[in-house]
Symmetry: D2
Amino acid sequence: MNTDSHAAGADDFWRELEADRLHEECGVFGIFGHPDAAAITALGLHALQHRGQEASGIVTFDGNRFHAEKRMGLVGDSFSDQAVIERLPGTAAVGHNRYSTTGETILRNVQPLFAELATGGFAVAHNGNLTNGLALRRQLVAEGAICQSTTDTEAVLHLVARSQRNRFLDRFIDAVRQLEGAYAFVALSTKKLIGARDPLGIRPLVIGELDGHYILASETCALDMIGAKYIRDVENGEVVVITEDGIESHKPFPKQAERPCIFEFIYFSRPDSVVQGKSVYDVRKRMGVELARESSVPADVIVPIPDSGVPAALGFSQQSGVPFELGIIRNHYVGRTFIQPTQRIRELGVRLKHSANRSRVEGKRVVLVDDSLVRGTTSVKIVQMMRDAGATEVHFRLASPPITHSDYYGIDTPERDKLLAARLDLEGMRQFIGADSLAFLSVDGLYRAMGEGARDPANPRFTDHCFTGDYPTPLTDLMNETGGVKQLSLLAEAS
Amino acid sequence: MNTDSHAAGADDFWRELEADRLHEECGVFGIFGHPDAAAITALGLHALQHRGQEASGIVTFDGNRFHAEKRMGLVGDSFSDQAVIERLPGTAAVGHNRYSTTGETILRNVQPLFAELATGGFAVAHNGNLTNGLALRRQLVAEGAICQSTTDTEAVLHLVARSQRNRFLDRFIDAVRQLEGAYAFVALSTKKLIGARDPLGIRPLVIGELDGHYILASETCALDMIGAKYIRDVENGEVVVITEDGIESHKPFPKQAERPCIFEFIYFSRPDSVVQGKSVYDVRKRMGVELARESSVPADVIVPIPDSGVPAALGFSQQSGVPFELGIIRNHYVGRTFIQPTQRIRELGVRLKHSANRSRVEGKRVVLVDDSLVRGTTSVKIVQMMRDAGATEVHFRLASPPITHSDYYGIDTPERDKLLAARLDLEGMRQFIGADSLAFLSVDGLYRAMGEGARDPANPRFTDHCFTGDYPTPLTDLMNETGGVKQLSLLAEAS
Amino acid sequence: MNTDSHAAGADDFWRELEADRLHEECGVFGIFGHPDAAAITALGLHALQHRGQEASGIVTFDGNRFHAEKRMGLVGDSFSDQAVIERLPGTAAVGHNRYSTTGETILRNVQPLFAELATGGFAVAHNGNLTNGLALRRQLVAEGAICQSTTDTEAVLHLVARSQRNRFLDRFIDAVRQLEGAYAFVALSTKKLIGARDPLGIRPLVIGELDGHYILASETCALDMIGAKYIRDVENGEVVVITEDGIESHKPFPKQAERPCIFEFIYFSRPDSVVQGKSVYDVRKRMGVELARESSVPADVIVPIPDSGVPAALGFSQQSGVPFELGIIRNHYVGRTFIQPTQRIRELGVRLKHSANRSRVEGKRVVLVDDSLVRGTTSVKIVQMMRDAGATEVHFRLASPPITHSDYYGIDTPERDKLLAARLDLEGMRQFIGADSLAFLSVDGLYRAMGEGARDPANPRFTDHCFTGDYPTPLTDLMNETGGVKQLSLLAEAS
Amino acid sequence: MNTDSHAAGADDFWRELEADRLHEECGVFGIFGHPDAAAITALGLHALQHRGQEASGIVTFDGNRFHAEKRMGLVGDSFSDQAVIERLPGTAAVGHNRYSTTGETILRNVQPLFAELATGGFAVAHNGNLTNGLALRRQLVAEGAICQSTTDTEAVLHLVARSQRNRFLDRFIDAVRQLEGAYAFVALSTKKLIGARDPLGIRPLVIGELDGHYILASETCALDMIGAKYIRDVENGEVVVITEDGIESHKPFPKQAERPCIFEFIYFSRPDSVVQGKSVYDVRKRMGVELARESSVPADVIVPIPDSGVPAALGFSQQSGVPFELGIIRNHYVGRTFIQPTQRIRELGVRLKHSANRSRVEGKRVVLVDDSLVRGTTSVKIVQMMRDAGATEVHFRLASPPITHSDYYGIDTPERDKLLAARLDLEGMRQFIGADSLAFLSVDGLYRAMGEGARDPANPRFTDHCFTGDYPTPLTDLMNETGGVKQLSLLAEAS
């Protein structure tokens, strides 16, 4: 239970390196009716590890009691022990991988969250972010609710507990109707497994089937891991109820066009997943193709920034005819902790994760391809690393448009004034990064890569505010904060 | 965060050895207005360690935020680090040592518990046991409250949160009025430190003063540890409110005679504490004196069962004139974990904790003196150990009456059918234990040792149901359970 | 100090998965005269992490005392803390990453090993394997030496300690002259940093320079990590002595042609390293080119088995004109521990590490490219995974020849009867793996990729016995074992 | 494997408190031919825990291999797990509890030490201290031996390994003949269990028997723990060899009168042990009786300083007729770690371990009885604590003479200039301690309590240099150090 303050400095340093990436908050998984429910959930969460690496939890129901195990760290470390799986009996399970966007990273905040109602217990796991989470929390506390976590997800538990309806499903629908923002939920009651996506379908959720039992998961890669069959996506605004009798669909919201988050395609989802019917890998390659069409440059070699830039770089190479080479080698042994920031190590910076493959770079005109640009601090170092390795020209190409706005739907973006594209124009960014040329994929090019025509501003098909500033829901908490109302949480607790 | 299942077998074995002792559930401590609030609370809890060794917690308030640290294990291990104390800033603190009577031993259950109200946060630590805790919990859950711990103490938090009153003190009094059973509370709000004892004053709570700042503690030994002055006991049914302006006394209950738990004198409180104005050590010696008066026997040596039997044995020796000797040596290195129960070790049994001092026992008529008899399993082994060491006669004397009834006020007694004195008559017990003679202090002798005349059945001065079956409050939960209503808790969680 | 028996079953399972790979035993690093010696050594070891992941150690000398830190696990976890680096003062350091080929994995076996002579202490780190290590050990023990580790490296310490020479360098040369097999040593005395390679130069060792201070490292990637300049390779049979006066070269052995291990190029060294003057990445691509020349096949897509097959697959693709695609996605979150082998997980097998990228495989004729084939157990599963993902044909191509003989020079190969190519002919292997066709690079093709003509059996340029059975040194211990003499080690110790 | 630097400050503080006590270095145990050898050895070490609490180790031999487990911390914590015992198969075992007098407290130094000879392995555990340990070490290193521990015990291993004799017993005798100082050894070879005491028998060693199998142990309390029968003491200068054929006695030294360490009686041995045929408890009581005869004083109460002062206080009380009372209560929850030394806690000082029992002290003339006086720093605080609790007079009585000289035979005494009795005369000590009167037992009184007449300076019966300055052996290392030769150890290692 001790808080591990060791290497606090190293963590700060690591955070600095990490701060130039985007982070997704969570992956969710659920299964109903399978004798190996907990073991399969652990495997599913392992396949979804890229969506959250801070902590994981699994809750099962054995027909009589719920059982929970929550751990800091990776699924493969936390659920590696048969003894842990054996403490999770039952044929129904829900699980969660966490990357924190709200709430401190302490065990109390690790999901699935659980509550016990007079009619029985239930557990909820959440991927997304509520834009009115604090407003709900304030209202609940004023009514005498006691919040034990500092996550926005807890509001859902209290809303369910306080609902005047009798059936758990009706209470759950009562609760989600009060939410704003992005969410994909998996919830487990004593009788049902429930899945729900917000009215715009911002965060993904798919239905699969294994040995005749239904599964819910953030991405299809979790189905592939366990040998399950993909059935369909949960629709935007849909609540699905899984019991022994099969799947039941509810549509508690007015019908709306779906508007999934485009960043799932650019960065978050695993390349082997199929999101909204599209292969993520193929979409990323097409982003590289469109980028080459828009911003080609005479060069000797196309070099991906590993690993996220690889598919776009392959597309760029195939479109441009310039050879693809691993001009940067990624160090696979960089974990969550890291060598201490002495001055020397700070200078070495990015080399801890990446190193130049000099033989493919020296004397060459290099096109670097990455998926997106956040703060630009890593990019500076990689451009310099290419020059140190003897590149004669370094051209930087991004397979997505400039990120000019923060996200509030579950992506951990920096404050707006830290976003390079919100601070500088294209030439300013080029100079900052130190590249010989710099180009981004256009918004319309991005939509083309998605298989659409140009973006229709009156009716955009994707949640794309990071590039356009066009937020698809009200930002209630943000408005309140701007108005001076601050977060309630009064307790600082280490464990 | 791992659950430490290591040595589970050893724990079982250890529990078997421990099961022949009584256990107190808790010690509480609070201080208001002192710059070293957390460090002093840690010291106070250390002095109260005998009241609970499973876990400890401290909550402080720094004028702005509350800070909590909760740890499994001993105070001296958990709060030994300056870094831990530094994570607990502020001049007001409440702390708690836990021995679990309700709720699993997991960190969520470690007190003080904390809740955040619209008007600010508060923390509560509890010594005692509510006899209507489950009934309250059921009612709260039916109203939509979500319980995060499985302790009876959490009911108090929800009752405070749901009170319609405005001031924290009024909400707190609202809450305690709904409680039945035994309690000594220390509670900390953003403005006050509150202490409260149940209407009968079953569990102890004293007021002290250090450098002009007030302190609440379960026993005076905690005041002695930190060099504080004893002021007075909190009275039965009293709520004291400590602020910068001093102490304010409230009496929200109808006036009743106090009826403190007599086991605080027999076993639980530390011998150097003064409880209800009486030196615990002196009372225990007088129990030995009364016992010698009632049940003397020709003998060569008086041998205490260490350490709890020492004062009574001294009294017995001084009254009888038979010399007092350490005929049994206690092994001080027995911690909470222990050598594994191979068959051999099971046979060796009690020697892990105690060993015979042969030179003082061999060829002698021995009177063994202990404070009380629970299941008798240890006593059998100690009598045999005396015989193995060459005692010619072994007489067993108990400085309290036979325990015939279970406790429901915070003492962890076995089920009634495990209590030796509830199963067997005196001769049956003697045969079970294997002693040459066996005698208990009479109930009236016990009252005499307390400085009273004989017990007045119409108006007993102490809570003494373990010896008499005379329970001083309704046993609501017990009645319900007998009626078939079981505990709600549906979640099994390891961490 | 507890032995971590947790997840022993999982470890077995993991070992099974791992057993189909080759393992290198070690990486070494040394620096002399630099104020940040320990921090730089930690960085260097981090860059060499691929050469050994079980444990790491660093020894420094501060002009007065030696300081050692040895840890199980990854460099980035073990040496992440400034406090650890601060316990390693001094301007000279040697370090070691361990993958055990001899000796149990316990802290006593973690290098660098240290001994104290009457003339001062010294530390030694070793990459390689002595083929007469047991014979030396037997002789030393017979003479009254006490061995504390079970590594072959300890023999070197005793040989140095028992040498009758006065100067440390002379003692060291005395010692290495008695060794047979493969070694690259870095050794630190109170005055010198010493590097040495065996007479054939089987294991690599390079010299670098940073801020005017000399460095020794297993590979150039360690120099790149810290921004050091590559100077030259230590030659085969050379002993280099680094002091404040610079580098001194000694050649204590009769001159021989060098014969470096060809597996450094095929698998072990990092692709961005330059070994014996050759870019490892370029050599691997050329192996793919040669392979395509020798064994092309009509296909739609070239798919590397990540990550080791990527450069050869790029070469194969560029030579054959068939597009390169990431048809298999590697899971980067597979650490050393892993999800427990329930029956289900056993069936899922390889998916924990790899998953099919269905959109690039379905309906396609796939050429899988890997660097080498050991037992074939993983290959079976990957071929099946391609078929499950809809591949119409699966052709398997290996960028090295069949491995028919075990290694005794520091590569952890299975016993010969576990090597697929030692058990089956080509068609047998194809059937075992389940591929539509199977082809290996020829030995001459391998030499061509290395920039040579065909292999000259009278005078082969590389240590290549795994493919040819042509061992370059006597195998003394192996001969003895066959003759019935077994290892001495009589102590089983867990920590 | 991490070094636990947590609470380093607390450890310093704790050391300060501890520095006013004497410490014994070790307890040893061995058994031959018993099926539960390891479990019984663990129990024996548990009974000997008072002789060393820093670390423990057990080595067993299963007829084929030796097995070792060494752990930091208490026996009950380290060997509580059946899995640990199962890793120690075999019917012969030796074990050791360590309190370090030489060498850092790291796992490499934890005994039994093991070495492998050409003729087989052997393990040695040592209680005592060699006064020529460094001299031997220097000579061995000069001859090419490599020392892996920093204990003096390792010299024995090398002397055995280098002996030219063939039989293990002859080698062992060869080795012990070169030793000076105090030692009780238990050693295990592949065929024998060996016990040995130095020529004067300074440290104790007894022979017991269980189920027909022989046992060696530092004290009889270890025999009692496991239900074994005491046979006899190993004699001074005797080497006993235990095999399946029974016990064989060797006397390799010229005959001398025994001269056991008198501190075993005063402080170290457990009160229930019988040492050299004398009950330790009885001897301590007689020291109290002699003390009362020599230095009685009018008083109301005799108060022992718990726990070591209790038997002497009982003797003092019985002799003087003044009642014995527990005027000081010991806190049993003080472990090895402790609450952090804020300024406040420093002031509270001794109360963490002891507290006044005010009701027995207030208004009374108190005689405090302790076993011995070292630095006096704790005594000052205890006298003050008595006065704070209302004592009208405080008289301090020590049941042993003034300690004026350091020990070099295995007792961790302070440097001579830290010993209060070496710095001040009686009146100076009284003033320092703040008592109303102060008296020590005379040397002759001590001998009388031992059942002797007055001490014969020409032929003292006990090793008593701490009181007399009469060291019974040469102090070779001390002479060398004074001559400027310092310790060799050049390696600082944390784990």
